[in-house]
């Protein structure tokens, strides 16, 4: 099933590339449209309008967050609701940042997310190469062990992990936020599946020229697998950035507080100041929202590639 599944997925990718371009309803036309060929020319004005309305309704909570972040405390609750207050209080953002150091939180989170992503990519690539290309005793059984752990929810390991961190004296440290999640089997699995699709012929000539495994991995496989690395990088980064349960357990100090945790702290200490809370929420949500808008192509591909659905 694997090779098949990957096959359909890459087909899905290329189809998406073509049909996904705005304004070019390509040959994929009849699929979503579900209409006979001859009616396809007419632009679906009503459908598009309704869809846009649905999208606006969907985005309304985020818009309301930004609008509320610019109001005075007294203008938050009005009947009927008003989009804007007397004036736009951009100073609320300064006040929110003054209440809790979100700049520091963002730096902390960026450091954790970037370091964690780099470690994940490097160790996953090495393990994936071994599983995809090397022959050694017990390879398949070992791989099955890796796979088995994929099914275990994070909640199962947090309790002993907390004890380990405690034992190591790592409470309130960056390594406690980074290391426990930098070696999960997921990256290894994802990259291995991709490496398996790289034709072996490409390596044969290099091998004849005397290239070792290290050169084959770094100079042949990694460049070809760049899209898979990009996908893994983006999702690992976002997972680290948004992580909440684990930071909640191992940190309670400003020096290591992450953005989601900082927002939770803000909620606990100043949750009634809705306008400032919304400013803090906007600050917290902007980085990953921008990331997804900038990297939309990779993300869309990545989800099709890896089936990272449902979370």
């Amino acid at each position: 099933m694997t090779s098949e599944a990957l096959g359909t997925r890459s087909a899905a990718l290329s189809a998406d590339d073509g049909a996904g371009t705005p304004g070019t309803p390509g040959p994929g036309g009849a699929v979503g449209g579900l209409v006979p060929q001859n009616r396809k020319k007419r632009p679906p004005v009503v459908s598009q309008l309704l869809l846009t309305l649905a999208l606006l309704l969907f985005l309304a909570p985020l818009a309301w967050m930004v609008l509320s972040s610019l109001k005075s405390a007294g203008e938050i609750f009005t009947t009927p609701p008003k989009l804007f207050g007397e004036s736009l209080l951009f100073g609320n953002y300064g006040d929110a940042l003054g209440f809790l150091p979100f700049g520091r939180f963002m730096l902390n989170t960026a450091f954790v997310a970037v370091t964690g992503t780099v470690i994940t990519l490097v160790t996953s690539a090495l393990s994936a190469y071994a599983f995809a290309r090397l022959r050694f005793r017990g390879r398949d059984s070992l791989f099955l062990v890796y796979l088995g752990t994929l099914m275990v929810p994070q909640e199962v390991v947090v309790v002993p992990m907390f004890l380990i961190m405690n034992q190591l004296g790592w409470i309130n440290t960056f390594q406690a936020l980074i290391l426990p999640w930098a070696f999960t089997a997921f990256g290894t699995f994802l990259l291995r599946q991709f490496f398996l699709t790289v034709p072996k012929e490409l390596e044969e000539s290099a091998r004849i020229d005397g290239a070792g495994h290290w050169r084959i991995l770094t100079q042949i496989i990694v460049p070809i697998a760049a899209p898979a690395f990009a996908v893994l990088a983006v999702f690992t980064f976002i997972t680290y950035w948004n992580s909440f349960l684990w930071p909640l357990i191992v940190t309670n100090d400003v020096t290591t507080t992450t953005v989601p945790l900082g927002l939770n702290l803000f909620l606990g200490q100043n949750g009634q100041a809705w306008n400032l809370l919304m400013a803090a929420a906007t600050i917290s949500m902007a980085p990953t929202a921008l990331l997804v808008l900038l990297l939309q192509r990779y993300l869309v591909k990545g989800i099709a590639l890896s089936g990272l659905g449902g979370r």
Partner: protein, 312 residues
Amino acid sequence: MALTGAVRVTDAVEPPPPARGTRRGDGRAASAFLLPGAIGFVAFTAFPILASLVMSFFDWPVLGDPEFIGFGNFVELFTTDPVFTTALLNTAVFVLLYVPVNIVVSMGLAVWISPRIVGRRYYRVLFFVPAVTPMVGNAVVFGLLYTPRGLIDSVFQTLFGVSAPNFLGSSTWALPAVVLMSVWQGFGYNLLVFSAALDAVPPSLTEAAAIDGAGPVRQFFSVVLPLMSPSLFFATVLTLISSFQVFVQPYILTGGGPGNSTTTLVMYLYQSGFQNFRLGFASAIAWVLFVIIMVLTAVQFLGQKKWVHYDQ
């Protein structure tokens, strides 16, 4: 995310390549390549999983000596602990509401954002945004919508002249409110998965069905849906698993209340382990959760033979 692998994995392992006589095994290279990842894997994945199982049979305080109590924690959970029963029930209700709504909404929108829609790529990605913004932020925003005199209440008063229910303060409404917020934030993943699957359906097949007189509805259910059944299966499995792990939404929105009406399994795990410091007890909850997830996933894999088509 974790589960993805597990699914595809089952028959993913290819047999070792046949020995080609001259080439030796790559044992030494393999150890070098595997070592960095394997050290971390053993320390931070394999060992904690086993440790968690062991701990679930102990009364394990943060300070002081652990005491072996056999199935004591599990017996307590299932016989004398009313909060656990409530948490289990709340989680089940959450899953039963969340999963179907999520699947229907994401599938419906994936179909709606057809190739005739101009700028479909942008619609897709905008629906996906809350799926990647911190859940804490999403929940805080919905807090402002749900609160009395908040946006929903004020729209109700303006349009109908009556107050909206106090969503988060009512044990009837709190859980549905948490579900609604969760669907809003989470369906973007499945939307993208289904969109990719829809785009992969060969148009010739729907055209052929149309020529045979099948209307759009018939085309969808008889041609398109069977073709994308592997994606649907996948998305359902993953969504179900992740929904059992729901924690942040109730933690931020309601704190589990009012009463225990929105306390979920993971929330109770957190409270037991890290507020009451009963680490063995919390591990037992984790394993109950794990077993439920395993059983339901296994059931879905057995059931898939009836409706999932892998043939091309």
